[in-house]
């Protein structure tokens, strides 16, 4: 009897392995085809120069640049793809193809960028610095999403918190004539909204998706209303002092890295710090373990004495604070005043970054950088007068997210209990 079961299992495993191999071969063939396409694109592109320049210390100062040809870029990218594709098809399922994408993707991005620029010089320090700045609100929003979802609360209200934070921050800063006060008020308002979301979802057991929709619609309504009815006529309420960039002494003098990482706004430094801090807190502390337990299996967490409700309220308050802070960044740092609908979907891109980053702070930061990069490339293109339909680049974050959620390229799994109401037994 056991031998029959054993044989059946062996057959089954053989089946799974065979499928894995087949999938690997298909994947390998697709990657290799991409490589051939790259080589094909290389023909005749060797006479087009591709120059990427990097400012060393400041915009417009001394620069260091790499000059090659578009053909060369395609040649390198194509050859690497063919090698990777061959290895994938040959080695089979064990080949670390996901990791190899991290090498392939930048090569292809560089080649495509070179082809689009068509001989024009691209200032990459500007692009990278722009990506970082654009990544700040998305990262903060994504961290808010991670905190809530890891604790078991689905949070689609990040967009609403952005708007409320931006509006309240601008008004408070204008009245008190202090940007810091504006930031504080934005954080507090974000926390209030976060608390409301938690209160609806936990105390009243309102479906968390509906609660999120309510808050988004309400936030759009109330901020538009306040803007049109109050701020439009009383402009003194919407001329806040802004938060300026601060150069960190010594460190900002490092070539390339200095102007990138150490000459930004305090928001940038804070965001980088929070990414590291939250990674540590979530995965290395007792608090983090309890938070994650509440999001994975609240009933099990409760049996070992964790106060799930309390953990969730706490996480939602913290998430609200981060999202409110991101909102204040929009009105107090990047724009300098509150405008209607100024979050422009960034809250949902943050949601995308949560998923793309697999509910992990570092991953979310990486995703936010990628989305920021596609934004920065777009503004570079429009500055250089390259005609690329912006809609295509704009759709990238959304399409990528769908692909990731659907598990077409590397499935990610969110916290098991996110979105499910929990009643203390």
């Amino acid at each position: 009897m056991t031998s029959v079961v054993g044989a059946a299992r062996a057959l089954e495993m053989g089946e799974a392995e065979r499928r894995g191999l087949q999938a690997a071969r298909i994947r390998g063939a697709v990657i290799a085809l991409l490589g051939v396409a790259g080589l094909w694109a290389a023909r005749g592109a060797f006479n087009v120069a591709a120059t990427f320049s990097f400012w060393l210390l400041e915009q417009g100062g001394a620069a260091w640049s790499i000059t090659t040809t578009v053909g060369m870029l395609w040649l390198v990218a194509g050859s690497v793809a063919i090698v990777v594709g061959g290895l994938q098809a040959g080695v089979g399922a064990r080949f670390p193809w996901r990791q190899s994408l991290f090498v392939l993707a930048p090569l292809y991005v560089a080649a495509i960028l070179g082809a689009l620029l068509d001989g024009k010089v691209a200032n990459m320090t500007g692009v990278f610095a722009g990506s970082l700045e654009l990544a700040v609100p998305i990262t903060l929003g994504a961290l808010a999403g991670i905190l809530s979802e890891r604790s078991g609360m689905l949070n689609i209200a990040i967009e609403g918190k952005f708007l409320v934070g931006a509006c309240a921050g601008a008004i408070a800063a204008s009245i008190t004539d202090s940007a810091v006060a504006g930031v504080l008020v934005a954080v507090l308002c974000g926390m209030a909204v976060g608390y409301m979301l938690a209160w609806l979802g936990i105390r009243h057991q309102v479906d968390q998706i509906i609660a999120g929709v309510v808050i988004n619609i309400g936030a759009i309504g109330i901020t538009n209303f306040v803007f049109l009815r109050v701020l439009a006529k009383n402009t003194w309420l919407n001329t806040p002092p802004t938060i300026e960039k601060i150069k960190i002494p010594v460190l900002s003098g490092i070539p390339v890295v200095g102007p990138l990482l150490f000459s930004g706004t305090p928001y940038l430094y804070f965001t980088l710090a929070v990414v590291v801090f939250l990674s540590y807190m979530l995965f290395r502390t007792r608090w983090g373990l309890r938070l994650r337990a509440s999001g994975e299996k609240p009933s099990a967490a409760a049996t070992v004495g964790i106060d799930v409700i309390r953990i969730r309220y706490g996480a939602m308050l913290l998430a609200g604070a981060l999202a409110g802070l991101a909102g204040s960044y929009l009105s107090l740092s990047s724009a300098g005043s509150f405008q209607m609908g100024m979050s422009a979907g960034r809250g949902f891109i943050a949601l995308a970054a949560v998923i793309f980053g697999a509910w992990n702070p570092l991953g979310a930061f990486g995703a936010a950088l990628m989305f920021g990069f596609s934004d920065a490339i777009q503004s570079l293109m429009s500055i250089l007068g390259v005609d690329v339909p912006p809609q295509l680049l704009n759709s990238v974050p959304y399409i990528v997210t769908i692909v990731v959620v659907a598990g077409l390229v590397g499935r990610v799994r969110g916290p098991a209990a996110a979105g499910q109401p929990y009643t203390q037994g």
């Binding site: 689905l154 689609i156 609806l200 009243h204 309102v206 479906d207 998706i209 509906i210 609660a211 929709v213 309510v214 808050i215 619609i217 309400g218 759009i220 309504g221 109330i222 538009n224 209303f225 306040v226 049109l228 009815r229 109050v230 006529k233 009383n234 979907g345 949902f348 949601l351 995308a352 998923i355 339909p389 809609q391 295509l392 704009n394 759709s395 959304y398 399409i399 997210t401 769908i402 959620v405 659907a406 598990g407 077409l408 499935r411 969110g414």
Partner: protein, 394 residues
């Protein structure tokens, strides 16, 4: 007693929710009335009275904007001048015009909620339906008109259905959460429309705005009344017909029963032999199709030209609307009429008193909140829970 139980009680909660939301909205109107509040230190009582008077003015403008001036309607009764008649009935027909797309999107949301999937993507399905219809009209512009209209409606419906089917398929096959995918698809749809409206084929010659060529000169949904400035077209009738069809489908057909069963308890439905994945895909495609048809009728009936802001939040309002309606088609029609009246009336309120229309979005959010959390309303009005099934929401 049974009438009380079966009709008045279920309607009582939504009505109280709407009423309470308006009271809270009024409070916001009062505290943002800066001009008036400036007098508060000197004359508190007068300020409060003036503030209340302003709120009264705003709401009466809203009612007149949505339903018309009674005196004018009375005069029109005995008049045969089409201009007089049109002037009298214009507000109410505009309310119906505004509620037509809301009925479609509300039904779309309701059908997905009934199946237990959250279609947040109705907004995208709506505009892509309109876009599909626009392309169809321009491609087949030489086809005889009645045929062209039907063709455009079919293609518009299919475009919306496709955009709804994608997240349904992904949910059924890979488990991708439909809330995430539909939110993302909303943005992709918006970008697609912007991208499409750049093409020489769709945009008016020499235009840089995201609008299409004028479609109403090629084909348009026939008007119900041949009166000047009355825009009410047969799209509204179609909306009502759809509500009846959807109601029949959900509550009387086998497929509809399966959808509801899947929405009620997916595992149990599966155990009973219902194809749960198929139900989800079907519900999402139907939902998207309804939204797409709504978009088609909006672009070919009311507006007559595609633009990127064709939908002023019809898809998002629909979520509030479906919840308010308890996901019942009849309720959707009633709620859509209410929201349509708010939109049209809010327009006049904005013109007359300068109070931004956006107040209504805030009020809507409050309405959903109160409907979704009935305990809130109960505690405000000190209502007692009667018995287990007495006041239960849904």
């Amino acid at each position: 007693m049974t009438i009380w139980r079966r009709t008045i009680l279920p309607a009582l909660m939504p009505l109280l929710a709407v009423f309470t939301a308006f009271v809270v909205g009024s409070a916001f109107l009062f505290i943002t009335d800066i001009e008036n509040l400036k007098h508060f230190p000197g004359d508190p009582l007068g300020t409060i009275l003036a503030g209340l008077a302003n709120i009264g003015k705003a709401y009466s403008a809203m009612v007149i904007g949505a339903f018309g001036v009674p005196a004018k309607v009375a005069a029109a009764m005995s008049s045969s001048d089409p201009k007089v008649i049109a002037g009298a009935i214009r507000p109410i027909t505009e309310t119906l015009v505004a509620s037509s797309p809301l009925i479609f999107t509300g039904l779309a949301v309701a059908i997905s909620f009934r199946t237990g999937v959250f279609n947040i993507g109705v907004e995208g399905q709506f505009i892509l339906g309109a876009m599909g219809a626009t392309v169809a009209v321009l491609v087949f512009r030489d086809v005889p008109k009645p045929l062209l209209l039907i063709l455009a409606m079919v293609i518009g419906t299919l475009s919306g259905a496709l955009w709804g089917f994608i997240p349904g398929f992904l949910k059924a096959r890979t488990g991708a959460h439909e809330v995430i995918t539909t939110i993302m698809l909303n943005y992709v749809a918006a970008q697609l429309v912007l991208f499409g409206l750049r093409s020489e084929f769709l945009k008016p010659v020499g235009s840089t705005l995201p609008i299409s060529k004028v479609l109403s000169t090629i084909v348009r949904v026939p008007l119900i009344f041949a009166l000047p400035a009355i825009r009410l077209h047969y799209g509204f009738v179609m909306a009502l017909v759809m509500a009846v069809l959807v109601s029949w489908f959900i509550f009387r057909s086998t497929k509809g029963f399966e959808l509801r069963a899947a929405g009620f308890n997916l595992m149990a439905a599966r155990y009973a032999g219902i194809n749960a994945g198929g139900s989800i895909m079907l519900a999402m495609a139907l939902s998207g199709g309804l939204a797409g048809l709504g978009g088609t009728l909006e672009v070919l009936g009311t507006v007559g030209q595609m633009s990127n802001d064709l939908s002023s939040g019809f898809g998002f309002n629909a979520i509030a609307l479906a919840l308010l309606a308890g996901n019942r088609p009849g309720g959707v029609v009633a709620a859509a009429l209410l929201f349509g009246a708010l939109r049209t009336g809010g327009g006049l309120m904005q013109v007359k008193t300068g109070i931004p229309l956006d107040l209504l979005f805030f009020v809507q959010a409050l309405v959903i909140m109160f409907v979704a959390a009935p305990a809130l309303i109960r505690s405000i009005y000190r209502m007692k829970v009667q018995n287990a099934d007495g006041v239960a929401a849904q």
